[in-house]
């Protein structure tokens, strides 16, 4: 076997690393716009799914234009913030900020029956990585119309069940405020929720940590919206 000097090995590895780095960064730069477009379409599909509309990668943009009629950004005291695009807000960085500094997106959708739904974003921690989603509320700002939860790396069959249809469907018609209009969020109950209860849903067996994370995510995120919800309720009266 031929032997190579240490200098040769250093030169060889340096050239290899430079070539590989150049190749990969070119590919990343060329493909980035296409990838970002895909992520944007996925986000639109998630939002649509929270108002119980099924979409595909092809018709997502069209359906989004049709059903999502407006969006705006509020802060935690319920004041609207001008000049910010709700779609571009990253909930990850917002939830890291202190309560007063958060900017929170709200999407308005008008369904075919003329009813308005208000969609808010949620973001939290699962067992292995981030979990996130959208919660659509009826125009009473108390009752959940639909949800969409997603995850990056939860265990398939256990924590990953949060983005299945059966799990999401449980949230429909649950209430996040009690009769005295105090914020109570939604509880994920181990061992089966009371079917009579208006704010309990079944947790996932084998997915306790993901369920706990989702419950905390709903509490944290929906509570930062609660001033806005209460203001809106007063306006309705």
């Amino acid at each position: 076997m031929k032997s190579f000097s240490n200098t040769y090995i250093f030169v060889f590895s340096t050239i290899m690393v430079v070539v590989v780095a150049a190749l990969l960064s070119t590919a990343a730069m060329v493909l980035q716009p296409l990838q970002e477009k895909n992520i944007e379409i996925q986000k639109k599909r998630n939002i649509l799914s929270s108002i119980r509309i099924k979409s595909s990668a092809k018709d997502a943009e069209e359906l989004y234009e049709k059903y999502i009629t407006g969006s705006f950004v509020i802060n935690t005291v319920g004041k609207e913030q001008k000049g910010v695009d709700a779609f571009k807000i990253e909930m990850v960085s917002q939830m890291r900020k202190s309560l007063e500094q958060r900017s929170l997106p709200v999407f308005i959708s008008s369904l075919e029956d003329g009813k308005k739904k208000y969609i808010v974003a949620v973001q939290g921690k699962g067992l292995w990585g981030p979990i996130y989603g959208f919660v659509a509320l009826n125009d009473d700002f108390i009752t959940i119309y639909g949800t969409n939860f997603n995850h990056d790396s939860e265990t398939p069959g256990l924590g990953a069940e949060i983005n299945t249809d059966w799990f999401g469907a449980q949230f429909a018609d649950k209430k996040i405020f009690n009769k005295n209009l105090e914020f109570i969020s939604i509880d994920l109950v181990k061992g089966g929720a009371d079917p009579e209860s208006l704010n309990e849903v079944d947790a996932i067996s084998g997915g306790t940590l993901t369920s706990d994370g989702l419950e905390k995510m709903l509490y944290d995120c929906l509570s930062s919206y609660q001033t806005y919800f209460k203001n809106q309720m007063n306006n309705i009266k």
Binding site: F12, S13, A27, A28, L31, N38, I41, Q42, A57
Partner: protein, 215 residues
């Protein structure tokens, strides 16, 4: 170099066809089983995974084979891994740009092609000692042998587990649900992939004389 053999000599063709049957990476060498269990719930991800591995292994084999005389033996494993990792990242980026849904289904398993023993094994065992063209054929052959098993398992699991082929509800159209047939939920779970691979190995061994061990 004057006595060049023809491109598709019988020796070269063996490189291509042996891994499909008597030297199959999954059923005979029992490599790469982890990913075969994880991504074969449906046919489409199985096919995309198979194509990805074909691309990664064929290109890595050619690159390593072309560089084989320049690669210092002391760092050859690092060089091999760098080439594989580069190819896998490229494939992953392309999937994210052009087949986003599938790339989400495959999730970490595209990245895990890097650790697929078939690829490291072929680079170390074949590409380091052969010219680029045989290495290319060897790469295509081995990854196709891997892909073939993936596609068979994916097809069976999708058909029996969800009653569909490539997302098309074939059993529903045939009307077998009306006579009391039901999908087998167990087929969707990874253990059934292992059992199907086991059955494939059984069938293959009982039909192929070369694979029957003495004793």
């Amino acid at each position: 170099m004057n006595d060049r053999e023809p491109l598709f000599s019988s020796k070269n063709m063996k490189l291509l066809t042996n891994p499909l049957n008597i030297d199959n990476p999954i059923t005979v060498q029992v490599l790469g089983v982890c990913s075969a269990l994880a991504i074969t719930v449906k046919l489409e991800p199985s096919v995309v995974m198979a194509i990805s591995v074909v691309v990664v292994l064929a290109v890595s084999n050619v690159v390593i084979s072309a560089l084989r005389k320049m690669i210092p033996p002391r760092i050859r494993i690092i060089v091999q891994l760098t080439v594989i990792a580069t190819m896998v990242i490229l494939v992953d980026q392309v999937l994210k740009a052009f087949a986003y849904d599938v790339s989400k289904q495959l999730s970490v398993f595209v990245g895990l092609i890097i650790t697929n023993c078939i690829i490291m094994g072929r680079l170390e065992a074949f590409a380091m000692g052969n010219r680029p063209w045989p290495a290319f054929l060897d790469g295509i052959g081995n990854s196709a042998g891997y892909g073939l098993i993936l596609v068979i398992v994916g097809l069976l699991r999708e058909l029996l587990g969800s009653g569909e082929i490539w997302g098309y509800p074939i059993l529903e159209k045939l009307g077998v649900y009306n006579i009391g047939y039901e999908n087998n939920g167990l087929m969707i779970l990874p253990p059934m992939a292992l059992i199907i691979i086991g059955v494939i190995i059984w069938v293959q061994r009982s039909r192929t004389k070369e694979l029957i061990e003495e004793s």
